[in-house]
């Protein structure tokens, strides 16, 4: 029986992928989670579908030299899906290095040294490992670029290490875009910088937006990510198998199927304006400003706003430079892999549905 190790199962992407594997295979799952022994009950309350005798929880500490030393009999692991990461755009340099780069290197090393029967190693990265490069981004190794934040840089470094220093692993690389909703219904479990920005706009706390109206914004559902991660993990890359199949996949819609920043703001305000509370407050649409102007705002935030604005802006600011970069992401490998299952999504409709839920729940504050 296959044995699949998934890191980051206490997080959004890891849990969604674990559920996918559990539902669609008979494999046994190994889920290393920080403090698993004490947290198992609460994790199962959060993810009740993971309550299965096929699931084995174990502790791991990324700070340890051997973080996966708690995994029983690693020689029988057939698949690893490495989802664990700190995905905050405003992550500090030290944490990005510790978790996203060095933590990944330890997982790569574990796979090389202790998992001789490994058929597949999937590393989950981000399309923004492409940094501030403009134009078409291929499903291929990426050259080093300037980066908007340490998150992007640390993910690029881990990617590069996997493809060079650990190239003998049966690796695949999945770069995901920004998750706006769990699925096409617009429901959301996790919130990120996009949700925070929309919240600031809704509450009238942000009348300036960095970026150009024409810049595409790449949003996907968590379902699209999990679907792709699962499909990629099923490619057998062990010796004698399909080694020639593509190794890098973009979970991202192309520019032509994505919203521009201007369209996103317009749709957001169309949704906001249907809400009586918002409408009464007469919040005007924000102004687009250049990088320097937004830097003045974000760097001088202590003189412009209190803790609410400061906290929210700090989550948006590290991503701001990306909103000036016109890029497109190739996704032919993912399209070929998923075939007819590749999601055909109306980006505007997905955003509107998500906004309806965000507004109704006041960004998750109302049940």
């Amino acid at each position: 029986m296959k044995r699949v190790l998934i890191t980051g199962a206490s997080g959004y992407m890891g849990a969604a992928t674990a559920l996918k594997v559990l539902r669609h295979t008979k494999a046994r799952l190994v889920l290393p989670v920080r403090g698993a022994v004490n947290r198992q009950q609460s994790l199962l309350e959060t993810y009740p579908d993971l309550r299965s005798e096929r699931v084995q929880w174990c502790d791991w500490e990324l700070e340890n030299d051997l973080p996966l030393s708690g995994v029983d009999d690693p020689s029988t692991i057939s698949h690893i899906i490495h989802c664990a990461a700190d995905t905050r755009f405003n992550i500090d340099e030290a944490t990005a290095n510790l978790v996203n780069r060095d933590g990944s290197l330890k997982v790569f090393e574990f796979a090389r040294r202790q998992c001789p029967q490994l058929e597949s190693f999937v590393y989950v990265s981000t399309v923004y490992a492409s940094g501030l490069k403009s134009g078409s981004i291929p499903e291929a190794p990426l050259p080093k670029e300037a980066f908007a934040n340490h998150y992007e840089r640390s993910k690029w470094e881990a990617e590069t290490a996997l493809m060079t220093d650990f190239s003998e692993l049966p690796w695949s690389l999945v770069r995901t875009a920004t998750v706006i909703a769990d699925n096409n219904s617009g429901g959301f479990t996790q919130q990120n910088a996009v949700h925070n920005t929309l919240k600031l706009l809704y509450y009238g706390l942000m009348s300036l937006v960095p970026g150009q109206e024409s810049t595409p914004v790449f949003l996907v559902t968590g379902e699209f990510c999990a679907q792709t991660l699962f499909a990629v993990s099923q490619i057998d890359r062990s010796q004698g198998s399909t080694q020639d199949s593509p190794s890098i996949f973009h979970v991202c819609h192309e520019k032509k199927d994505s919203l521009s920043l201007g369209q996103l703001i317009q749709l957001a305000f169309e949704s906001f304006e249907k809400d009586p509370d918002f409408s009464r407050r007469q919040v005007k649409r924000p102004l687009f400003v250049d990088q320097e102007a937004f830097s003045v705002l974000s760097e001088g935030v202590s003189g412009f706003g209190g803790s609410v604005v400061t906290e929210a802006l700090q989550s948006v600011t590290p991503f701001a430079n990306q909103l000036f970069v016109e890029k497109d992401f190739e996704n032919a490998n993912t399209r070929a892999l998923l075939g007819e299952s590749f999601p055909q999504v109306d980006a505007g409709e997905l955003l509107s549905k998500t906004l309806q839920r965000l507004i109704a729940s006041r960004w998750g504050r109302k049940s």
Partner: protein, 319 residues
């Protein structure tokens, strides 16, 4: 509103509170919520506080005294305050002992008319426009001069002092007590008024400081666009912007939005006098005039934002 009859702003004067305190002193005295570093970073260096026995009306008189020899044609006084409590000289204790509301009706505009013997002048009070009141008084004066033929000159006065023990900080800006005065007349001197614009978002009248800041840029942009549109000029045709004395970084941002170099944003009095509620524009305009940099035909944009929430802009042209 494009000016149908030319009216002119002139005879600018201002006065400040009795005591000057450094930013550090203001913070140490507990007059602020924000720390000294943030104020300094925003451009503030010191602020002015009226003495215990100095009223807002005393500050108004000091401003008017400076131009008293040019008030003989005054037919109307527009007396504005940001804080409504500065629009009454009656004492609360007198009301409490007599229960007579006339102690809430002792208007400083009336006192001013009497004290300066402006016997032919009537009084208009204006006290619900917060920091934008001075520009509101220009707008009202312009309207009156266009509708009342016999009216030759209007005296505009704005005066505020914060009550004892008040925080001298609003929306992360350091406040000063002070007053200003100027005339609006048909006499061709000073500055010709080209256009005015005003916006109010009443739903945000209880806005938090964060919400006020959050609305600041989009509404300031809108009121400026409205003002320039009425005068049929583009931002590039403006020689000077004379804002209120709030965080100078706000204008670093706005200047980029409007494509105006920061050198044309005249905020010279910000470090020295801080945010005098509703008199900053006049202080800065007077200082700009005193530099000798202004040339005939220069277009000068005055902007203000205030609680209420209110935004106003006035476009002037140097005579």
């Amino acid at each position: 509103m494009t000016t149908s009859q030319n009216v002119y702003i002139d005879n600018l004067s201002y006065s400040l509170g009795d005591e000057v305190h450094s930013v550090e002193s203001a913070v140490a005295l507990g007059r602020t919520l924000t720390g000294a570093e943030a104020f300094t970073d925003a451009g503030f260096r010191q602020h002015w506080v009226a003495g215990v026995n100095t009223t807002a009306y005393d500050l108004a008189k000091q401003s008017v005294t400076q131009i008293a020899d040019r008030l003989q044609d005054t037919g109307t006084i527009i007396y504005s305050t940001c804080l409504t409590l500065n629009g009454n000289l009656g004492r609360q204790t007198d009301f409490e002992s007599t229960r007579d509301v006339k102690h809430h009706l002792e208007y400083p505009g009336s006192h001013l008319q009497a004290d300066f013997e402006l016997k032919q002048a009537n009084v208009v009070g204006l006290n619900q426009q917060a920091c934008t009141s001075v520009l509101g008084s220009m707008r009202v004066a312009h309207a009156l001069l266009n509708t009342e033929e016999e009216l030759q000159q209007i005296l505009c006065v704005s005066a505020d002092r914060f009550p004892e023990n008040a925080l001298y900080e609003q929306a992360y800006n350091l406040i000063s007590d002070g007053a200003c005065a100027f005339t609006v007349s048909r006499k061709e001197s000073g500055f010709r008024l080209l256009s005015t614009a005003a916006l109010t978002n009443g739903a945000m009248c209880r806005a938090s400081d964060d919400e006020s800041v959050g609305h600041y840029f989009s509404y300031t942009n809108q009121v400026i666009v409205d003002c320039l549109k009425k005068a049929k000029i583009s931002p590039k045709e403006i020689q000077w912007v004379v804002p209120q004395n709030t965080n100078r970084k706000a204008w670093i941002i706005l200047s980029r939005i409007f494509g105006l170099p920061m050198e044309r944003i005249f905020l010279e009095s910000l470090p020295e006098v801080a945010h005098i509620i509703s008199s900053d524009n006049i202080v800065n305009l007077k200082k700009l005039t005193d530099t000798g940099k202004l040339q005939s035909g220069d277009k000068i944009l005055l902007t203000m934002a205030g609680y209420g929430l209110n935004w106003q802009a006035v476009l002037l042209e140097r005579v």
